[in-house]
Symmetry: C2
Amino acid sequence: VFLRAKLRGLTVLGLSMASQSEKAESFRAMHRRGRILLLPNAWDVPSARIFENMGFEAVATTSAGVSVSLGYPDGEKVPKDEMLHVLRKICSRVQLPVSADIESGFGRTKEEFIDTVRGVIEAGAVGVNVEDVADFDAKTLLPVQVQVERIRAAKRYAEDSGVPIVINARTDAIRFNVEGEQKSFEEAVRRCRLYLEAGADCVYPMGLTTAEAVSSFVKEVQAPVNIMARRGAPKVRELEKMGVARLSLGPGPIYASMGLLKKISKELLEVGSYDSMLELAITYDELNSLARPGV
Amino acid sequence: VFLRAKLRGLTVLGLSMASQSEKAESFRAMHRRGRILLLPNAWDVPSARIFENMGFEAVATTSAGVSVSLGYPDGEKVPKDEMLHVLRKICSRVQLPVSADIESGFGRTKEEFIDTVRGVIEAGAVGVNVEDVADFDAKTLLPVQVQVERIRAAKRYAEDSGVPIVINARTDAIRFNVEGEQKSFEEAVRRCRLYLEAGADCVYPMGLTTAEAVSSFVKEVQAPVNIMARRGAPKVRELEKMGVARLSLGPGPIYASMGLLKKISKELLEVGSYDSMLELAITYDELNSLARPGV
């Protein structure tokens, strides 16, 4: 009985590893099709499960959402283990491929970065979003060569581990806008090309919003590009026409949820009614179903 | 230096205990005023902080919300320590009195119940909502005398501990409706009277909704009564006129948040736009501010 249980354990482990590897490849393929990949960002189990139930093909996390829901501001202030704990919960309740927002890797060296990637794979995720930030408070970028080496090492580590995760390499060159608009754009293009050569599957010029800039960027890099849905950004069909591979929502959904809580509070305190609480409400049974793994 | 640090530590501890005790008394007083106490139910740090920022006087937790956000269905399926961990986070980021939803006490014996109350006080809360459920799946009630003894013991324990928490004693007699509507109502009244005699500060007939039933119940018990905001329940002013002491929102806010995520998902997948994500959105800075203790 002991031996059988042990063998079964190994089989289960084998199957689950294979399935995580397949999930990674299937997630990668979603970045290279005619149509855009819509990638919503969750911060806990129920937000991830709602996205899964509604018909998305993959789910990502949002570092701002995960951090704040745990009581820490965004910018790697959350202890890495707490972030990984939530990621593990989400991966255990969701069947879809999950991509983890690991900010700038929770550590700047190659070794620390690989340790984070290892944690992400062990948690069950099949993708990472990684930034090239040196210091979140000072708003400085890592030397490009450091980031290139980190991406190359992560790529190699993931392949060796048997789970070839999808690497979305984000650059904050435009967001930090250190050298003016045109130079920042050029620096973002330069960095993203190097990240792609190092093994990134998709690049993400954070802060790029207008249709014109997005379109130019896609032409410059000729590879899968991630854009974030935000006020002023083009709609899905436009982005698709420009050749954008993936649209993520970033912290948009948690911004909206918190805004709704404000509206509910205001109505209750000022009017004494709770229509805005009831309008879109799901049921007790539906809420509970979100805690169980979906199909 | 070591001694000074140690003394400072004790002073801080002393101050923090006094302030928790004062907070408990101030929360208790909110149940015995002319006007109704509006008590919103949070499930994580940002939901609690939004309620605090919007001007409520106290915040409660929702067991369904806390459980599901941690990946467990409601009904004491969440490990007690995980529930207490979230409660501690909320209490550390919120200045207002916090009341903890501890379902049926995470254990049915007096000893287990007291252990849960101890955990709640250590987490920084100043109130509990406790149910008289024996078995959540079988939908059975505890013998009334067992619940009376648990409430009496909790009351004594809390007073001895220096943090005289507010006990909201909920009965599920009406919700489980074992003996028909009239008999269930009478059983709820009988139980709540005994819970009040045992030291409960407020009673909560779960499942009571219509204006007529609420009004009769308040007249029968002549003590602070908690009602939950739900479809069909009277509005704040009506409840106040009937003498209802406190209106909680239960899982209403998380039902609404999840419903909004469904709406955002549907719009993105079917229309390709994200207006419902932007309409009520808070900002990145506001989201991050929710992770820091408020004023």
